[in-house]
Amino acid sequence: MKPFLAFFGRRRRERELDDEIAAHLAMAIADRVARGETERDAQIAARRELGNEALVKETTRAQWGWGSLERFGQDVRYGLRLLKRSPGFTAVAVLTLALGVGANTAILSVVNAILLRPLDYASPDRLVVLLHRGRNPVAPGNYLDWKARSRSFASMGAAENWSANLTSGDVPEKLPAMRMTADILPMLGARPRLGRAFLPADDAAGRDHVILITDGLWKRRFAADPDVVGKAVTLNGESYAVLGVMPPGFQFAPFWHTDAEVWAPLDLRARASNREGSSLRVFGRLKDGVSLEAARQEIAAVTAALEREYPGTNRDVRVTGLQEMVVGDVRPALLVLLGAVGLVLLIACANVANMLLARSSARRREIALRAAIGASRGRMVRQILTESLVLAAAGGAAGVALGAWALELLLAFAPASIPRLSDVRLDARILLATFAVALATGVAFGLAPALQASSVGLHEALKDGGSSGASREGGRLRRVFVAAEFAIALVLLVGAGLMVRSFVALRRIDPGFDPRGVVSMEVSVAGTRQAEPGRRKVLYPEILERFAAIPGVKAAGAINHVPIAGDIWGFPYTVEGRPRPAPGQSPVAAYRAVLPGYFATMRLPILRGRDVAATDTAGAPGVVLVNDFLARRIWPGEDALGKRIAVDGPDDAPVWLTVIGVVKNAVQNDWSAPPDDEIYLALLQREQLTDSSGPQAAYVTYVVRTDGDPAALVPALRAAVWRIDRTLPISQVLTMPDVVAQANARARFQTLLLAVFAGVAALLAAVGIYGVMSYVVSRRAREIGLRMALGAHPRDVVRLVVGQGMAMALAGAAAGLAAAFLARRLMSGVLYGVGPSDPLTYGVVAALLLAIGLAASYLPARRAARLDPMAALRAD
């Protein structure tokens, strides 16, 4: 503390010394005047007596001693002065570090929030998810058996997708909702902020009409009413009591159905032996002392036994950590980005190190001279180190500011589909860590030149004028640094190039339909008058007619789930005339049901046959359209038209549907997934879609095509629906172009980020080569002048300088190509449609980087060629 205070007290002490000497002088003058001297004589005599005032003060100050911190302050001031004197050097070095540190701060913040920070539940590392093939839902019978037969779990619970049409209140609204067993909330360690959680007794028919709601919904729909607990709301036409309000920020589930705002109890007793209707996501908390591996083994044994009892029902059940479940599929991309950012930081550090090395050898003479007039070696090392630290601190501070800004930019551009994005914020520890990296860079790369510089002999330094022969070793080190920068930049550019190629390939995917000009919206009937049997068959076509009558509407159709944005249901089917597969072995097709006009509206071509018609009703023969993929797979070389399939459960007598059309393959849910079996039923023909009270019959999605902006149609579409029935909730209003853009958003975002980093890396490498070659040219000005005076052509000089620069670039590029090739595996997880060792990318990127290297070394070469030989020789 003491030197610290002394440091800040110094200014005060300087002022006091001034006062003390002034007082001395004043008293001396006063005495002399009192003795009879004139004012003027007294002043002159007193001053003479005092002597050299500056020297008096100087020797007095010398008695105060220097605290280490004061010396540090002095060095900092000196460092700042030097940096101010060469603004170009300072700006480039600070900017370089800022880029490295800033990018690191931003990306690290994202990685920390998404990958590293544990989920917001109690001991989240003990939470697991049990799903078929690690992602598919589970049937109630299986869940109940797992729960009963396993010993590894402290608790196990299940949740099911639900949707709740809120019809009490001003605007009907379809709320994303979920049903969950009473085990779930205690398992998460979550408690409502108001009211109570579910009890096991709530999982019972008659008692399950209670809900928990999010804090957000409470504020939005209930005006944050503190007495909300116990109030009744109408969901899907039935009365539910609000049981409690969850705390702000509570989210469940974290990886699926993440926007749920309402939770209700899940009563499974009626379905306890159902092993077909897979709709549950199963969650568990591992018992203390039980490892994930042990739980996996136990579940493998349990499911193997169940599979023997109920063949085809318990295949490939995986136990996955909840956190892994949430972030697993973004991890490869984030790690690639993190690697990229680390490499950019490395380049930035190499550049700054290079600049410091170059500067220190340029200052050999100054340093030697200072050593000669008595500066100690330690003192000079300290001082050069302080300069680097000042530089690193400035760069670090700028980088932190840049990082905060970059993070905001990142979040603004990031697709919403990235999990936990809302948790991302600038973390103080990350700020500190990246700042520390900047400082460490300053120390590490400041130290070498400092030691090197301080060991320079005066004689030698003064003799050679710090010119050509100076520090051959430093020169080699600099060239190695630049080559390394090129290698790293090349690796990054290869990565970015591959991402760009992959992104182009993604963009070229034909979704099968034409998204332009199409808007989709979901209309729910659950809980309204329209849910009565028979009503939907009338309502659905009536809405289509109203839509078609709206000016600007070119076509309208409807489907249960639109591709990409909508849900996807798989359904086993059987083919007429083929042996019946063993239970659980039936092929599964994506199950869609359409109203007439869907294919025309989407411009999804019917390759052969016809669309469903208004006459394909419940009484008429069953019809189905299949996609081209299914048609070719099941009936290769035959015409699928007229063939029959059944989609009803294996226990029922098959209801045969005749194939009336073959439809072009369309993208289903995953944009880049290869085509899979897909069938389209006539929705109005399926009573379970028009007259049942199940969730599959609760809503339908309309698609409308226009020539203009599809979003502009939305108010007219809503009005048309509400003119029929003001209580119908309308949700999921989306334009298809947005849906397609969203499907590619993650790839676009990753590509953009990696491209930016690669660009920065290439820029920094160019700065590096430019810096070194400029330095070489200025150091060798005399030699170059001599060559030119002896008849060398400017062209020769250019060749000499560019040759040296390109030697570094080539060596670096070669090393980079090898490194990129060796590291190609890292990229394969994030690429589509291009191999990680794509020769075209490697070639183009190498050529590009070498061109950059050429340009960056040509500039100093041209300066060298324009040197006036006489001036160059006379200088120094």
Partner: protein, 123 residues
Amino acid sequence: MVDRTPYQNPIELLQGTLDLLVLQTLTWGPRHGYGIAGAIRAGSNEALQVDTGSLYPALHRLEREGAVGAEWKTSENNQRVKIYRLTPQGRRKLTQERTRWERLMQAMSGVLDAPRAPVTDEA
């Protein structure tokens, strides 16, 4: 620096004696730098001149060592002046310095006043 000596018979102060003089002066009461210089001059009948270039470094060094304390006061003609005073530590230092000085004096005069014959054992 000073090309004309302001006093009649100036005596160069011996190395190390300034501290002693300053501390001794302060035993008569706290005073400022100018006052200390005046007291030494007066006490030596104008024979000892204290150069400001030596006085202030000495005062600041003694202050840092803790031998003197200092505080700021405002003089009658409204001048801010720094008043030095002796600390207990300074008093001890004065005793030491004084002893050292007296032994030096004895030794010096022993040599200077010695008879021609070398001193005998019992002297």
